[in-house]
Amino acid sequence: MQDPTKKLLAGTGKALDDRFGGAAGLKKQMKKLFPDHWSFMLGEIALYSFVVLLLTGVFLTFFFKPSMQEVVYHGSYANLDGLRMSEAYKSTIDLSFDVRGGLLMRQIHHWAALLFVAAIMVHMMRIFFTGAFRKPREVNWLIGITLFTLAMLEGFAGYTLPDDLLSGVGLRIFVSVVFEAIPIVGTYLLFFTFGGPFPDGLQGDFIPRLFIVHVLLVPGILLALIGAHMLIMWHQKHTVWASRKQTNRNTVGFPFFPHFIAKTTAFFMFVFGALALLATFAQINPIWMYGPYNPVDVTAGAQPDWYIGILEGGLRIMPGVESVFLGHTIPWNTLIPALIVPGLLFTFMALYPFFEKWATGDNSEHHVLNRPRNVPTRTGIGVAWLAAYMILLIAGGNDIIAKTFSLSFNTITWIFRFAIFLGPVIAFVVTKRICIGLQRKEEHLLHEGVETGVIKRLPTGGYEETTRTPSPELLGRLETNRPDVPEDMPALTDGRGVEARNGIVKRLRVSAQRWYTQDNVARGAHGDGHAEERGEVEPGAQRPELTGGRTSD
């Protein structure tokens, strides 16, 4: 205890524990293990971009004026001199050009917003494809989907704040397709939300309200949900990748203190540093080039931020359909691509874990991640979803594609109209095929060993390729995570034989279960040593340990 640093640390610890207690609990938390795998850093990227957004966002609020009051510009940017503009626009120009570090903070903020949403999405894909959403982690999955949705909303609100021509046109579209398109209550929602018609409302309320949504309402909810997300993750612990050392009953990794805390701090610095680097050299959203918003002008070839692309794409490829009935209009051409399709895509994702649980009858706790190939149906569904998302996103850039490939809008639009239906189906089929192919390859590997390329002449005169046994890591990975075959699946009863009552649902469920497993490649006897166990059980027979009231119903 001679070292002053040690003394200081120990002293602080003692003083805190004297007052609050908790050393015992904290000791345990400090030792909590964190697995070491790059895919676990995707969520961290999202978290740290959010922290960067909070830090830079607070800086921006000191200079940004959320007001639609009209002013005449006589500032340091000569090209805009004498122009009328809103205070919001002027203050954003001022904070970019006249505040030291202002442009830097603004650009970091914007880059961080793009990264935030992207990281959430990739993180979500990792969770989906590895089955990390399964019991007991469904709640965190739902929180995640909510965060994704709110992040899009938050980004859009922020993007609109500077009141420049580009974002103003974006807001105009948003107001039409999200508010006005809604049957019955649309215009009322619009008038209540923004205090009157586009673009100013009656009292210039558009920007002030978007501002409070952007800096208080949504960030507050995001913060609370991210907090819950982290607490739940902490409590439930990370999932683990399949390997010999990692099972459903253990966690393997490095302790929170000092290893993980040091590493993750470095990672935060790295994410922040990368964003600072982008903001230094890559200009983003140069609103002074777009000019202030006015309802008459438009910037040609404008693109929204990437995460709005799916709405944009849908709006572009949707055929013009609208119905008028009993004197009322339903604009399907905006309602479907802006609200119904994204609504279905996100709702589907949110409910997927519950669907899978219903379909497979698997209601047990899972901590070991699936290898995507071992669950081809789920993987196929995920890739189909991604295909739909990507096709809409790319369709949002159809003018760029038209220019690049010298195609007519007509051709491109029709290509996308077909693609949005065929693409996901093809993606599903192809993905499933590939997964099953990979399963075969692994089954072969377990059977025959790794091919060495060395051909041996047999005494009988024939030839044979020599093989060697796979490495222990590979074997471990193969053995510990194998595809389910129908016989593995729990019988779909509730253990009380009530299933006969609802015939159709039951039959649907049985075929859904088969859909998930029937194409999988069964492991041979040498594979995992459980084959005989499986062999004893007839498909669909009552297996007492699989039923007994713990299946999901």
Binding site: E180, F192, T247, V252, A266, G273, P295, R316, H328, F409
Partner: protein, 360 residues
């Protein structure tokens, strides 16, 4: 989905191996030990010279971060902001320093972790979350007993009046939000054009000398000019009033029913259409004289301006509404009605209903 090669057990009994391992783990835990991961990389044994060298490397990165930090503080004062050039320079310098600070710190700490911190991969037990049947039962019983002890189950009047009390409270926020905006009333149908109103070149309406459009101003057959009503500067009104004025040769307007209407509403081949796209409300801008097609830059809806602005391509459904115009005695272009043909202007909404000539 079978994790770890074990047959699925739904909360069933653990295997004997698992029981043994779990007991061993408990004993280790009691002794305050934990198990090292079996095939973890060998533990690092720091030798002193190597540790010294690592310390120097890491410290170098921290010093880089320090120097970059000092540079940031100094450069902030040396390079003023003010205008795009200064801001650009300041941005590069400050951003460069910030990047360097953060990246050097990241590298330094990472090296610290990699080279000096213990690299012991550990294993902990994981327990099923489900509590034991006994705990669950006890909890349930406690909860129900306690709830019953409050008498809530026995006194329906209490229960019902409590719910009754809560109901209006739940609606209260909705009531409080009522004054966030006016009712739409006829606002979605109104627009400011009145018969005889002159046109101003868009963009000049709030300058000291707004440019009024005369018949003789529109000589060009290829141009598309944006116009707004004279005396109107309010954005809400301009957003519904904005016009796109084009000129066609008389024989270019088609002989269809739409074409006939279009011709009637025009003067000398000059036609004034709403500039607000009927799809999602973008101001339309790209006019091609050769094909008479007007393209909306937002989602590529295309309107045939020689046939009553009917939609020929894209997601829009309805033609652009047209404002009937004429010339007054001084040669100014003026509105010839207080409504748009095929109005109201802009995108569709629930109350809109069929096309009608309205001004509210």
């Amino acid at each position: 989905m079978t994790d770890n090669g074990q047959p699925r057990r739904h909360g069933g009994t653990p295997t004997s191996a698992e029981v043994a391992e779990s007991l061993a783990a408990r004993r280790r835990a009691e002794r305050g030990e934990r198990r090292r991961s079996p095939d973890a990389p060998p533990e690092r044994h720091l030798d002193d010279t190597e540790a010294k060298r690592s310390e120097r490397v890491i410290a170098t990165w921290f010093i880089v971060a320090f120097l970059a930090g000092v540079a940031f503080l100094v450069l902030y004062w040396i390079f003023p902001a003010g205008g795009p050039i200064n801001a650009g320079v300041s941005n590069k310098l400050l951003g460069g320093c910030l990047t360097l600070i953060l990246m050097s710190l990241a590298i330094g700490v990472m090296l610290w972790v990699k080279r000096l911190m213990p690299n012991k991969e550990m294993v902990d037990e994981r327990h099923e979350f489900r509590s034991s049947d006994e705990d669950r039962r006890e909890f349930g019983e406690y909860f129900v007993d306690t709830a019953e002890s409050t008498q809530i189950t026995k006194r329906p009047l209490l229960r019902r009046t409590l719910l009754l009390a809560a109901a209006p409270l739940g609606l209260l926020p909705l009531w409080l939000l009522r004054d966030m905006g006016p009712l739409p009333k006829k606002d979605m149908f109104t627009q400011p054009w009145r018969k005889g109103m002159r046109m101003v070149l868009a963009g000049t309406q709030d300058s000291d000398s707004p440019r009024l459009l005369k018949l003789t101003d529109i000589t060009d057959f290829g141009s598309a000019i944006s116009a707004v009503p004279e005396g109107i500067t309010d954005f809400n009104q301009i957003a519904t009033a904005a016009l796109l004025v084009i000129r066609l040769r008389p024989d270019e307007i088609q002989g269809t029913r739409r074409g006939a209407l279009q011709r009637k509403a025009s003067v000398n081949g000059i036609c004034a259409f709403s500039k607000i796209c009927t799809h999602a409300g973008c101001p339309i801008s790209l006019y091609q004289q050769r094909t008479h097609e007007l393209l909306c830059p937002c989602h590529q809806s295309t309107f045939d301006m020689s046939d009553g602005a009917k939609v020929v391509f894209g997601p829009a459904v309805r033609p652009l509404p047209q404002l009937p115009i004429t010339v007054d005695k001084d040669g100014y272009l003026v509105a010839n009605a207080k409504y748009f043909i095929n109005g109201p202007v802009g995108p569709s909404f629930w109350e809109r209903g069929p096309d009608r000539n309205t001004n509210g």
